[in-house]
């Protein structure tokens, strides 16, 4: 007996965990990893699309193009000069720029070939300009400008960019908000997964819970035991899902950067996204913490 006592004393006491070692929650960490992966991607898509929609709106709201669809090249050239002069004299018009023939050729090349000479065909002349006017006065100013240019050339007309890019900007913005809706559903689904995992863990370890309950453990002590382990599982899943999503975002970002389209490039992640996105795994762990706590407390309240 004395020898045994010596053995016991020699062995440093390391308290056993009140719950069995290993995962409490089965596949929950991997489900959370997938949820977090999709949540981060959806959030990133939402932020990028909203950013793109704002950029588009800002770019097109003030911009107009005056199109002079005059078949006679000489008449067209004179009309362009007179309209540029008119624009220069008009108050609230800025950044007047005649679209160069080279640019027109480049834009028409896919349809008419690269050896096109603008003088050979009656291609309308284009003049870009910014209309500096309060939003409420913009339509009236555009109508007045249209009337003024038509007075110079009957073949001229003012085309506000907002009339054809505006619906696209609104569509992009709507898809962006839809992404945030998807994020909200993901958060709810993550909470539901944790609720199911917590119920499962409670049912699996009911025997141990009953024993420590009868020995005087409070609900708070029991919940804390489970919560710590479930938080670690959730943290693991959230970190893995976040890492996967960031890798995908960086890869997609590189692909977007390689695309020359202004439209595509406008839908890039704004700088603050890199502050928002890392908060998602923390929020996910918070949702898991709250869900586990509420579920376990409710389960324990059903016993005496």
């Amino acid at each position: 007996m004395a020898g045994n006592a010596k053995d016991t004393a020699a062995k440093p006491y390391a308290p056993g965990s009140l719950l069995p070692q290993g995962r409490l929650t089965g596949p929950m960490p991997w489900v959370i990893a997938i949820m977090m992966f999709l949540t981060v991607l959806a959030t990133a898509a939402g932020l990028a699309l909203n950013h793109g929609a704002r950029s588009l709106s800002a770019n097109v709201s003030d911009r107009v193009t005056i199109q002079i669809a005059e078949a006679d090249g000489a008449v067209r050239s004179r009309a362009v000069s007179r309209i540029v002069a008119l624009l220069g004299e008009t108050e609230g018009i800025a950044n007047i720029a005649i679209v160069p023939e080279a640019e027109l050729s480049r834009q028409l090349a896919p349809w008419l070939g690269s050896d096109l000479k603008i003088g050979d065909i009656p291609v309308p002349a284009l003049i870009d300009a910014d209309l500096v006017a309060p939003a409420g006065e913009r339509e009236a100013r555009i109508a007045a400008l249209d009337k003024a240019v038509k007075a110079v050339s009957a073949q001229a007309r003012v085309e506000p960019h907002a009339s054809y890019l505006g619906p696209l900007a609104r569509l992009v913005g709507a898809v962006g908000w839809l992404s945030f809706g998807v994020v909200a559903l993901m958060v709810a689904a993550t909470g539901a997964v944790v609720v199911l995992a917590a119920r499962g863990a409670h049912a699996t370890h009911r025997g141990t819970i009953d024993i420590i309950h009868m020995l005087g453990a409070t609900d708070t002590q029991i919940v804390r035991l489970f919560q710590q382990r479930m938080m670690l599982d959730a943290l693991f899943g959230a970190a893995v899902g976040f890492a996967w999503a960031v890798a995908v975002i960086l890869l997609v970002g590189r692909s977007v950067a390689a695309v020359t389209s202004d439209l595509v490039q406008s839908a890039t992640l704004p700088g603050f996204a890199w502050v928002v996105l890392p908060l998602l795994p923390l929020a996910g762990v918070g949702v898991a913490w709250l869900s586990a706590r509420v579920t376990l407390n409710r389960a324990l309240e059903r016993s005496l």
């Binding site: 020898g3 053995d7 016991t8 308290p15 009140l18 009953d210 024993i211 309950h213």
Partner: protein, 229 residues
Amino acid sequence: MATIVQFENVGLRYGPGPETLSDLSFSLHEGAFYFLTGASGAGKTSLLKLLYLAQRPSRGAIRLFDADIVTLPRARLPGFRRRIGVVFQDFRLVPHLSAFDNIALPLRIAGVSDAQLRAPVEEMLHWVGLTGRAHAYPATLSGGEQQRVAIARAVIGRPELLVADEPTGNVDQEMATRLITLFEALNKLGTTIVVATHDYDLLGKVADARMMRLERGRLTEPPHPAGAH
């Protein structure tokens, strides 16, 4: 002696069936030693469940440690449970904890630090003759060893009330006598002890013990000195 437990017209019913316990009225006094006897199915375990707060009665009144247990808020029950030591009939050891950790459980729940609990747990292990089995898990312990771990766990917190359900059912006569002697020693330190048993040989081993008898859920013999009938 002060009254530590008081039952008045207590009835207990599980679900819609007949009452398992009916019309129980008795008092237990502080520092006394009680044997609860009765045939199998008489309701001994159910009565003990009321004592260690695993159940509330279906009717009647129970006062324990001067508190009305029937109306006591659930959140206050753990505080009362810590004043009660329980030896379950089926031991209820935590299977993934060693004998040492099982015995240490009440102290850990009460917030005793790991450094502080070592000495009392080793004393308990010695007390029940399991020093050499401190790191053994319940599955590797014999029935008698598991019972001794369960007893050590029940008494380590020096409870004011010790409730034991057939605590000598799985040990030989020598160990049974030893455990009852240990209960008696604890009783002399002031713990009120209630032992449910159908081993009538035990009754004469504790001087001044009182006996009560249950039959079909009714108390046919209220607490009285063991030698009186």
